[in-house]
């Protein structure tokens, strides 16, 4: 009922083009995450959906209604800001009821809805405090409560966890996931943190320079990236990217010139390519191998990562199947299955 459609949506500030034509379908009740490096236009796109920025051209539909020129308050959206944006002179209760009061809702209804939101977010004890007396996590919950109270069709979150410390961020991430289940509404969430994106999203939209690089489910993007940018952006630790040249029997990597790596796709000989392999795809039982020297070891307990080098300059990140006996300076045969390699052309596009 309240999906969103963006059709060739653009935004420019004078001669600066920030959003360069975005087409996107968001289904009802979907949790969509806009992710990308800073300055990629993800927040601007969210603000355009909210109505805080004018849409320069293109169409925005929420449900079936074109919303380009509709007032933010009439779009059926609610937004949670990075800085929380709570009204400092009002109590938590007043903050949450403010929008309803302005919409002319009866007092009893405001009280019921505020109480409901307070129950969902466990804010009951804080209702008569002012934002200045709350911790960061509590303020963020109030900000979410203020959004819930309005019973919006679409929730917009603009980097809501960026101002929280690491532990609280993980906690709030789980809260938000739980909230999505409980409220069962469409959520659009902006973050630059790809872990947040992977863990929360039904659908991730990766943006760069005002263009969608790829949109799809988290695992689709992880397993099957369309281009180098998405491959490098999604996944932690990052995918290893190695330059090479296609030859008759495979690909010769610049940093490992003595061996030919079997290519999972057919590439004309002489083509310059970039080969991607994720750290976790190194596997002692793999059929191919790269000869490396270990430089740094990271013991995480459950996994051990080695940073190792071949003949060339690039440092590979390797998952070692939790090999705790590994030492720096040791020779290490990084085995892998050639089928797990991803090959990208010179323009950054995936070769399939």
């Amino acid at each position: 009922m309240s999906g969103l459609k963006l059709r060739n949506v653009k935004k420019s500030f004078g001669s600066v083009h920030v959003i360069k034509g975005v087409d996107l379908d968001i289904e009802d009740k979907q949790f969509v995450v806009f992710v990308g490096p800073s300055g990629c236009g993800k927040s601007t796109l969210l603000r355009m959906i909210a109505g805080l920025e004018q849409i320069s051209s293109g169409d925005l539909f929420i449900g079936d209604k074109r919303m380009n020129d509709v007032d933010p308050a009439q779009r059926g959206i609610a937004m949670v800001f990075q800085s929380y944006a709570l009204y400092p002179h009002m109590t938590v209760r007043e903050n949450m009821g403010f929008a309803l009061r302005f919409a002319g809702a009866p007092k009893e209804e405001i009280a019921t809805r505020v109480a409901e939101a307070a129950r969902i977010l466990e804010l009951g004890a804080l209702l008569d405090r002012k934002p200045g007396q709350l911790s960061g996590g509590q303020r963020q919950r109030v900000a979410i409560g203020r959004a819930i109270v309005r019973h919006p069709d679409v929730f917009l979150f603009d980097e809501p966890l960026s101002n929280l410390d690491a532990e609280l961020r993980v906690h709030m991430r789980i809260e938000i996931a739980r909230l999505h289940k409980e409220l069962n509404t469409t959520i659009i969430y902006v973050t630059h943190d790809q872990v947040e994106a992977m863990t929360l999203a039904d659908k991730i939209v990766v943006l760069r320079d005002g263009v969608i690089e790829q949109a799809g489910s988290p695992l689709d993007l992880y397993d099957d990236p369309d281009n180098l940018f998405v491959a490098g952006f999604i996944g932690s630790p990052k995918m290893n990217l190695l330059a090479g040249t296609a030859e008759a029997g495979g690909i010769r990597l610049a940093d490992f010139p003595e061996q030919l790596v079997p290519s999972p796709v057919a590439v004309p000989a002489g083509t310059a390519v970039t080969v991607g392999i994720r750290p976790e795809h190194f596997d002692p039982t793999g059929s191919a191998a790269l000869e490396t020297t270990v430089e740094i070891i990271e013991h995480l307990g459950g996994e051990t990562y080695a940073y190792a080098r071949g003949a060339g300059s690039s440092l590979l990140t390797l998952a070692t199947d939790n090999n705790r006996t590994l030492k720096t300076g040791e020779r290490y045969q990084a085995r892998f299955n050639p089928a797990s390699l991803l090959v990208f052309g010179q323009d950054g596009k995936r070769l399939r």
Partner: protein, 270 residues
């Protein structure tokens, strides 16, 4: 060791001189209000016994209720209007992006360098054509669009979180409602500081009221006090008593708003 002591001594000495220079006129005014004119001229700096005499003389010579009413109405109305208009302008200048914004603002700041004396004659001509000479409106109107206060509000508005405005828009508030229900309460320290500055300026305003207020029943306290010094043998005891009275409202306002004044000067948005 000794060097530090000397340095410290010098600092204290300088501070003491500064404190003396600030406080002595005030002390002298209060003490003077209780002395006879002759004692004051002789340079007496301790409390005297003529307070009641001075008070009686002041209240018989001056229609105090009327004068304070005039000064009060002018200062209060001018303060309210100045804050309303200048804070709106400051808000507008900071919140709305426009190509010509900085140019207009720069031009306004340039106008700050025009001395009031240079505008006095044209202003007087304007007000006399509008048939407003010798009215309170003539005193108040030229002060309400204060460039300095606009500048002050614009600078402090930079600390106002724009996300609050966004949140209010999503909550369904129109721009004027955002100003009234979000901006104004959040910026109350700024308003308090501006209130003190503007109230004092208007209460103490002398030159323009002198030009534009012409009949005795419209005059303000500053005009009356300066009128008393113009007498053939000025009664300084009486004048200083009136001065003490004239100082009271500004002191009162300052102490009422003191805490907010300090916050406002620090530009606190919390």
């Amino acid at each position: 060791m000794t060097l530090a002591l000397v340095r410290r001594g010098i600092v204290y000495l300088l501070l003491s001189i500064a404190a003396f220079v600030s406080i002595f006129p005030f002390y002298w005014m209060v003490v003077g209000a209780s002395n006879t004119s002759a004692d004051i001229i002789r340079g007496k700096t301790s409390l005297g016994s003529a307070l009641l005499t001075n008070a009686t003389a002041f209240f018989t010579q001056v229609d105090a209720v009327r004068i304070f009413w005039n000064s009060g109405v002018i200062a209060v109305v001018a303060t309210v209007l100045t804050l309303a208009i200048s804070s709106l302008a400051g808000y507008g200048f900071e919140m709305f992006r426009s190509r010509v914004r900085e140019r207009i603002f720069g031009f306004l700041l340039l106008l700050l360098s025009v001395p009031f004396a240079a505008m006095m004659v044209p202003l007087f001509v304007m007000f006399s054509q509008a048939k407003l000479v010798n009215t309170f409106a003539a005193v108040i109107l030229p002060t309400v669009a204060s460039i300095f206060i606009i500048f002050y509000f614009r600078q402090t508005t930079k600390a106002f979180p724009t996300e609050l405005r966004d949140a209010a828009k999503i909550d369904g508030l129109k721009e004027w409602q955002i100003f009234l229900f979000v901006y104004l309460p959040v910026m109350r320290s700024t308003y308090a500081a501006a209130t003190i500055i503007v109230f004092m300026a208007n209460w103490n305003n002398y030159l323009w009221p002198l030009v534009v207020l012409q009949t005795a029943e419209n005059k303000t306290i500053t005009l009356i006090l300066s009128g008393l010094t113009a007498a053939y043998t000025p009664d300084y005891g009486l004048i200083l008593f009136g001065t003490v009275l004239a100082t009271l409202p500004t002191i009162l306002i300052f102490f009422l708003l003191q805490r907010r004044f300090v916050e406002g000067m620090l530009g606190a948005v919390k």
